[in-house]
C-alpha cells in the first residue's frame, strides 16, 4: 500500500488502527506502525492530521520499547536458568536442546 496516494484522514485512521491493534499483544504491529509512519509523522511538511499521527507513532514506539524490554528480560532469564529449573523448565520449553549444556 502506497501512502503517497492516501488522503490524510485515511492515513490517520490507519495509524490509529495499527496503534490500537498493537494492544492485543502485538508489538510487531507497533513496530510496523513506527517504521511505516515515521516519515509521515516527522519528516513531512505539516498538515492537519500530522499532530495526531505523531502522537500515535510516539505511543507505539513507547509500547514497543516496553515489550522489547520485557521480552528480552524474560528470554535472558529463561535461557540462563532453564536447565536449573528442572521440571518447570521442561514444561515451559517448546524445544529442548539435546546434549549437555
Amino acid at each position: 500500500m502506497n501512502l503517497e496516494r492516501v488522503p490524510n484522514e485515511e492515513k490517520l485512521t490507519l495509524c490509529r488502527k495499527y496503534y490500537l491493534g498493537g494492544y492485543a499483544f502485538l508489538p510487531f504491529l507497533w513496530l510496523v506502525n513506527v517504521v511505516w509512519f515515521f516519515k509521515e509523522a516527522f519528516m513531512k511538511p505539516v498538515y492537519t492530521e500530522q499532530l495526531q499521527i505523531k502522537k500515535y507513532v510516539k505511543r507505539s514506539a513507547l509500547g514497543l520499547l516496553l515489550w522489547v524490554t520485557v521480552l528480552t528480560t524474560w528470554i535472558t532469564i529463561f535461557q540462563r536458568f532453564r536447565a536449573e529449573w528442572g521440571e518447570v523448565g521442561d514444561y515451559l520449553s517448546f524445544t529442548i536442546p539435546l546434549g549437555i549444556p
Binding site: A24, L26, P27, V32, L71, F78, F94, P97
Partner: protein
C-alpha cells in the same frame, strides 16, 4: 503474469478505436516504452522469485525435516513410491499425478462456477481460511523444525508471542492494508512455506510428473478458448470487475479505485493445504483443499482486468486518447508486473527438489535456478509482445526440468570424472 499496457484502456482486448493522431511517433514511442518497461519489470520480478528460491533451498539444505521420508503422504497422492519394481513405481507416480491434476481441474471449475454465480463471499472466506492456516500452522511447524535443527531452546510464551505476531500482521498485510514491502515479504514467505510442504510430501517421480503436467494444464487453461481460466477472465471482463486481486504478487501497489462496486480488499493468498497430521499412519488427511487451488487459481490471477499504466506519462497519454471505456475519475491505476503466487510456489518447488535430490548438488540447483530465470525472462518478453495475460509456468518449468535432468545425468558425472582425474578445463 500481466504486462504493463500502454494505449487506450483495453481490458485485454485489442485497442478499439485509435484516433488517427500522430501515429508514427506514438507507435515508436510505445514500442520503446514497452521494451523499456519490460526490462525493468523483469528485474522487478527476478528479486522476489530469487528470494523465494533462496529461502526454500536454504531451508532444504539446513533443516533435514523437509527431506526426510516419514512415510507420510498427502491424501492426493496415495500411491507409495518405494515399490519393488521400476514399472510399479512409474505406474504409481502416474496415478498420483493423475489424481492430483484431476483435483486441480475440479477445484478450478468449482472456482469458476462460484465466480460465475457471484458467490464472492464463499471465495473470500476460503482464501481467508487458507491464508490463516498457512500463516499460523505451517509457520509453527517451520519454526519448530528450525529450532530443532539449531538446537535452541524456546519457551511456549515467547513462541506464542512470535507466532501470534507473525500471523496477525501477515493476515493484516495480505487481506487488509499494510506496507507494500511487508506484504511482498509475506507473500514470498508463504509461497516458500507452501513449496516446502510440497517438497516434503510429494514423492520424487510424482513431483516431477506433476510439475510437467501442471505446466501443460496451465498452458491449456489459459490459452484455449474453453479453458476455465480463460472463461474466468472473460466473465470478469464482462462484468467490468477486476479479477480477484488475491494470490498475486505485484511489484508495485495495485490501486483499484475505479468502478468496482464490490470492494476487493487486496487479498494476497496462496493456497490452502491442510495440516499434515503427525500421525503414525501412512496416509495424511487433508481437512481442506489442496494446493492445486494455488497453481491454477493463481495462474488465473495473471489475467488482470484493465490496462496497466506504469507511469505518469503513459497515464496522461491515455487520458488524452478516447477509449472504449470511459476512464474513471480517480483512475490511479499504477501497477507493476504481476506474477501469480502459484508460479512462485512451483518454481521454488522445482529448485528445492533439485537441491534435495540431485546427485550434482549445487551444480544442478544453480542450473535449475538459471533455467527458471531464463524462462521467466522469455515469458515476460512474450508478455510485452502479446500484451495479454500469459501462463508463466510452461516455459520456465520446461527449461527447469530439461536442465535438471540434463545436468544431473550428463553434466555432473562429467564434472566428477574431471575432478577425479584432476583435469581442469
Amino acid at each position: 503474469s500481466e504486462p504493463p499496457q500502454h494505449g487506450p484502456e483495453q481490458n485485454g482486448q485489442p485497442p478499439a478505436a485509435r484516433p488517427p493522431r500522430v501515429v508514427e511517433t506514438e507507435e515508436d514511442e510505445e514500442e520503446e516504452l514497452t521494451l523499456k518497461y519490460g526490462a525493468k519489470h523483469v528485474i522487478m520480478l527476478f528479486v522476489p522469485v530469487t528470494l523465494c528460491m533462496v529461502v526454500v533451498v536454504a531451508t532444504i539444505k539446513s533443516v533435514s525435516f523437509y527431506t526426510q521420508n516419514d512415510g507420510q503422504r498427502l491424501i492426493y497422492t496415495p500411491f507409495p513410491e518405494d515399490t519393488d519394481t521400476v514399472g510399479q513405481r512409474a505406474l504409481n507416480s502416474i496415478l498420483n499425478a493423475t489424481i492430483m491434476i484431476t483435483v486441480i481441474i475440479v477445484m478450478t471449475l468449482v472456482l469458476v462456477l462460484l465466480y460465475k454465480y457471484r458467490c464472492y463471499k464463499v471465495i473470500q472466506g476460503w482464501l481467508f481460511l487458507s491464508s490463516l492456516l498457512l500463516l499460523f500452522f505451517f509457520s509453527y511447524i517451520y519454526l519448530n523444525e528450525v529450532l530443532k535443527t539449531y538446537n535452541l531452546a524456546m519457551d511456549y510464551f515467547t513462541l506464542a508471542i512470535i507466532i501470534w505476531n507473525f500471523g496477525v500482521v501477515g493476515m493484516m498485510c495480505i487481506h487488509w492494508k499494510g506496507p507494500l514491502r511487508l506484504q511482498q515479504a509475506y507473500l514470498i514467505m508463504i509461497s516458500a512455506l507452501m513449496a516446502l510442504v510440497f517438497i516434503k510430501y510429494l514423492p520424487e517421480w510424482t513431483a516431477w510428473l506433476i510439475l510437467a503436467v501442471i505446466s501443460v494444464y496451465d498452458l491449456l487453461a489459459v490459452l484455449c478458448p474453453k479453458g476455465p481460466l480463460r472463461i474466468l477472465v472473460e466473465t470478469a471482463q464482462e462484468r467490468n470487475e477486476p479479477i480477484f486481486p488475491a494470490l498475486i504478487y505485484s511489484s508495485t501497489m495495485v490501486w483499484i479505485v475505479n468502478m468496482a462496486d464490490t470492494e476487493w480488499p487486496p487479498k494476497r493468498n496462496s493456497t490452502e493445504a491442510a495440516p499434515p497430521q503427525q500421525e503414525s499412519q501412512e496416509v495424511v488427511t487433508f481437512p481442506t483443499d489442496d494446493g492445486g487451488f494455488s497453481s491454477t487459481w493463481v495462474n488465473q490471477q495473471q489475467h488482470q482486468l484493465g490496462p496497466l499504466q506504469s507511469t505518469e506519462q503513459t497515464r496522461r497519454e491515455i487520458q488524452e486518447l478516447p477509449s472504449a471505456r470511459p476512464p474513471a475519475e480517480d483512475d490511479d491505476e499504477e501497477r507493476g508486473v504481476k506474477l501469480g503466487l502459484g508460479d512462485f510456489i512451483f518454481y521454488s518447488m522445482l529448485v528445492g527438489k533439485a537441491s534435495a535430490t540431485a546427485s550434482g548438488d549445487w551444480n544442478t540447483t544453480l542450473a535449475c535456478f538459471v533455467a527458471i530465470l531464463i524462462g521467466l525472462c522469455l515469458t515476460l518478453l512474450l508478455l510485452a509482445i502479446f500484451k495479454k495475460a500469459l501462463p508463466a509456468l510452461p516455459i520456465s518449468i520446461f527449461f527447469g526440468l530439461v536442465f535438471y535432468f540434463a545436468t544431473d545425468n550428463l553434466v555432473q558425472p562429467f564434472m566428477d570424472q574431471l575432478a577425479l582425474h584432476q583435469f581442469y578445463i
